[in-house]
């Protein structure tokens, strides 16, 4: 009994020491406090080379999109395959060398009815689950929390509606400042931090031109339109890092305003909000070291 306790003690000490080392490496702003978003570093849902399908689903919404995509794509693959076989057969069977005497048939009522009715049935088979998905995606009610996402030329601003004063900007890390572990063109200086397992509503708008808030691994996409608030939502299932990009042309640096999300357990998220509040003043990041370009003065002035 005693011996077992001792072992457990040693293991706990070891774990603590490891944790301290890890924290030391990814020290948050001041370097003193532990980084509450560390839990998101274990799993990175980023695109990989030669990828041929959707990213791994990070939310139930993306899982449903993935399912419907497979469903529709297999049906359409069947249609394309059928047409290809038909076309191949006709081209071989009725080529001039083999079939010198053309028929003059130009009508066949039955077959003409079949090729109207069968596509209608196929469409009905597609439409039913498809409409379910539309309703599912539209239901942003009863969220745990709401984040107001504002697109700017060329960065994203995240305002946590439930945490007064927590409102900051997120810039892409410029190519020449990429550090090991960061992904060029996807990593940002201050990611959006969200709790896992909770329904999060995004209210999406823009301060200047159109932008697109596009999170492929979570199945979220909406335009950011000045003067209009659009709503979407997500529930992130496991702690990890998720990426997105601006997906509506917005000017010179359209390709340089990615979205990075750190999804962490709720208690870590709550711990992070306290640290973030201390570090971020209203809509201004305390250390905008890595801002890739000067803020668009015009855009901010008109807001």
């Amino acid at each position: 009994m005693k011996r077992k306790d001792g072992l457990a003690m040693k293991l706990a000490m070891l774990a603590l020491a490891t944790a301290l080392v890890v924290h030391g490496h990814c020290a948050f702003a001041q370097g003193a406090a532990p980084d509450p978003t560390a839990a998101a570093n274990g799993y990175v849902d980023a695109p990989h080379n030669w990828q041929m399908w959707f990213p791994a689903a990070g939310s139930p919404m993306q899982a449903r999109i993935d399912w419907l995509m497979k469903y529709v794509l297999w049906i359409m693959a069947g249609v394309v395959g059928f047409v290809a076989i038909l076309l191949g057969y006709v081209l071989i069977r009725f080529r001039a060398g083999r079939h010198p005497k053309p028929s003059q048939t130009t009508h066949n009522t039955l077959i003409e009815i079949i090729w109207v009715v069968v596509p209608c049935i196929i469409l009905a088979i597609i439409i039913i689950p498809s409409i379910h998905l539309i309703y599912y995606e539209a239901n942003a009610s009863d969220p745990y929390m709401t984040v107001t996402v504002t697109g700017h030329q060329w960065y994203w601003e995240y305002k946590y509606n439930a945490v007064p004063g927590l409102d900051y900007s997120s810039y892409m890390i410029p190519d020449d400042q990429i550090k090991p572990g960061e992904i060029r063109r996807l990593s940002v200086d201050h990611p959006l931090v969200l709790p896992v397992g909770k329904k999060i509503r995004f209210v999406i708008t823009s301060a200047d031109v159109l932008h697109g808030f596009y999170l492929p691994s979570l199945g979220v996409q909406k335009y950011a339109i000045p003067g209009t608030d659009l709503t979407s939502w997500t529930t992130i299932e496991k702690p990890g890092t998720y990426f997105g990009q601006c997906n509506q042309i917005c000017g010179m640096d359209h390709d340089a305003m990615p979205i990075e999300i750190k999804a962490v357990p709720l208690k870590d998220y709550l711990a992070w909000t306290k640290i973030a509040l201390a570090n971020y003043t209203d809509n201004t990041v305390s250390s905008p070291l890595s801002s890739p370009m000067p803020r668009n003065q015009l855009a901010d002035a008109t807001r």
Partner: protein, 532 residues
């Protein structure tokens, strides 16, 4: 349908000599104007093609340095889109082949309004100058071909480039509108005796439906563009939220034009494919009436599906469902067309001449583009796929392979009738196969990029997208080399000494243009042909 044309009516107007200026700058002859349009399309395709080669070279590797300025990149993508649509596909199919063959096919001596016809062309030529100014002046127009405000308003796109691009759309729009009026008047009033609507060749049906789409869609574009110009220059706020306007209004107006525009580009292609398939199968079209009315239905439904381009913009849930269902319905008449083409070949005696290769390639690749279109029509899936490379792959399958393949099918089919000389069959086939490999290699991998989440209109991308982008760029180089083969084909045609017979395709070619000499005389019919 049997055709009687008095031989003595077809006197070649060899004596008909005009000065260069009066023939080409003040032209009133539908064939000369058609030739001008085809020349315009050729120039447009070269410009648009070079722009696409530049883009694919930049995208060949991540962090590439061919284009380092995002504004230059945006100007190139904008010009590529607009030039390919308004100065390549439309003049090739409608102004070019439409002008050449609609009057001939219906037995009319010329278009209804020959001077209006000339004016249509020169508006388009002026528009091309403007769109190039929009590309080269200042830092160019960088709003994308969709021109969504506020990015192209005076605040975010200062300078005259955007104004030139907007006015170029006005010019191209007026050109299309006048052309549409001319085609409608010609087809409805100038058919030869006995040529009832239900005997009219399918290409004429296609152009007629296209002309109605233009007639109804272009004014909406003109309104939207005018409002943009007003917002930019006269302080109005149609699309400016701070003044009570709404950028979403522009999206509605643009796509109310933009979606019919898609069918404006593909319906004439359908017409050409029908003729080519029928000719080389040596069989009449299967289900002629179904084919004609399928186009009418596509044209009609094409007007009520526009907001499927706005599934992730400001749009209600119920509207999404309506627009999804309406969009999917278009698959039914499109299916009628595809199956009727196959049924036309069924039981035929198929000759694989170059135009037929392009037509068969068209049918297969258009079906692939149509299938991804059905995928994208699902609003729920569009939330993932909107504006990414899956979409880029989709619309290039229906345009770069659909419309462009039909243009080449029409070119090889009719170049003998237009020039009087045959094309080199071997090099035509080389052109087809290299282009087929090239465009598929370019655009098929883009489906994967889209599924992986690569957004469109990016000059630089995350390194994870490098593999398929490289393959795609290699494909574009093959397509580019293939175009050099096409240049040789053109050279061979115009230097050929060989003369062609009236009907050089034989028994399968039954429409009126095959009853006149090759090249078609300056005035096609001096006596009215009688169709029994």
């Amino acid at each position: 349908m049997s055709i009687t044309v008095d031989d003595h009516a077809l006197i070649d107007q060899a004596h008909h000599k005009q000065s260069f200026v009066s023939r080409w700058l003040m032209s009133t002859n539908h064939k000369d104007i058609g030739t001008l349009y085809i020349t315009m399309a050729f120039i447009g395709a070269c410009f648009g093609g070079v722009l696409s080669m530049i883009m694919r070279q930049q995208l060949m590797y991540p962090h590439n340095d061919i284009i380092t300025n995002g504004n230059t990149w945006n100007a190139i993508i904008t010009a590529h889109g607009l030039i390919m649509i308004f100065w390549f596909v439309m003049p090739a199919l409608i102004g070019g082949m439409g002008n050449w063959f609609v009057p001939m096919m219906i037995g009319a001596p010329d278009m209804a309004f020959p001077r209006l016809n000339n004016m249509s062309f020169w508006f388009l030529a002026a528009g091309f100058v403007f769109v190039l100014l929009g590309l080269f002046l200042d830092s160019g127009t960088g709003a994308g071909w969709t021109l969504y405000p506020p990015l192209d308003n005076a605040q975010y796109s200062p300078g005259v480039a955007t104004d030139f691009t907007l006015f170029s759309l006005h010019l191209a729009g007026i050109s299309s509108l006048l052309g549409a009026i001319n085609f409608i008047a010609t087809i409805l009033n100038m058919r030869a005796p006995g040529m009832t609507m239900h005997k009219m060749p399918l290409f004429c049906w296609a152009i007629l439906v296209t002309a109605f789409l233009l007639l109804l869609a272009i004014p909406v574009l003109a309104g939207a563009v005018t409002m943009l110009i007003m917002d930019r220059n006269f302080g109005t706020s149609f699309f400016e939220p701070s003044g009570g306007g709404d950028p979403v209004l522009f999206q509605h107006l643009f796509w109310f034009f933009g979606h019919p525009e898609v069918y404006i580009m593909i319906l004439p292609a359908f017409g050409i494919i029908s003729h080519v398939v029928s000719t080389f199968s040596k069989k009449p079209i299967f289900g002629y009436l179904g084919m004609a009315y399928a186009m009418v239905i596509i044209g009609f439904v094409g007007f009520v599906v526009w907001a499927h381009h706005m599934f992730v913009s400001a749009i209600s849930t119920d509207s999404k469902i309506y627009f999804e269902v309406a969009t999917l319905i278009i698959a039914v008449p499109t299916g009628i067309k595809v199956f009727s083409w196959i049924a036309t070949m069924w039981g035929g005696s198929i000759e694989f001449k170059t135009p037929m290769l392009w037509a068969v390639g068209f049918i297969f690749l258009f079906v692939i583009g149509g299938a991804t279109g059905v995928v994208l029509a699902n609003a729920g899936l569009d939330q993932e796929l909107h504006n990414d490379y899956f979409l880029v792959a989709h619309f290039h399958y229906v345009l770069s392979m659909g419309a462009a393949f039909a243009i080449f099918a029409g070119f090889y089919f009719w170049i003998g009738k237009m020039s009087g000389h045959p094309y080199p069959e071997f090099w035509g086939k080389v052109h087809f196969w290299t282009f087929f490999v090239g465009v598929n290699l370019t655009f098929f991998p883009q489906h994967f990029l889209g599924l992986a989440g690569m957004p469109r209109r990016y000059p630089d991308y995350a390194d994870a997208f490098a593999g398929w982008n490289f393959v795609s760029s290699v494909g574009s180089i093959i397509s580019g080399l293939s175009t050099l083969v096409f240049f040789y084909v053109l050279y061979a045609v115009f230097t050929s000494k060989e003369k062609l017979a009236d009907n050089y395709w034989g028994e399968g070619a039954t429409t009126l243009e095959w009853a006149v000499p090759s090249p078609a005389p300056h005035h096609t019919f001096e006596d009215v042909p009688i169709i029994r």
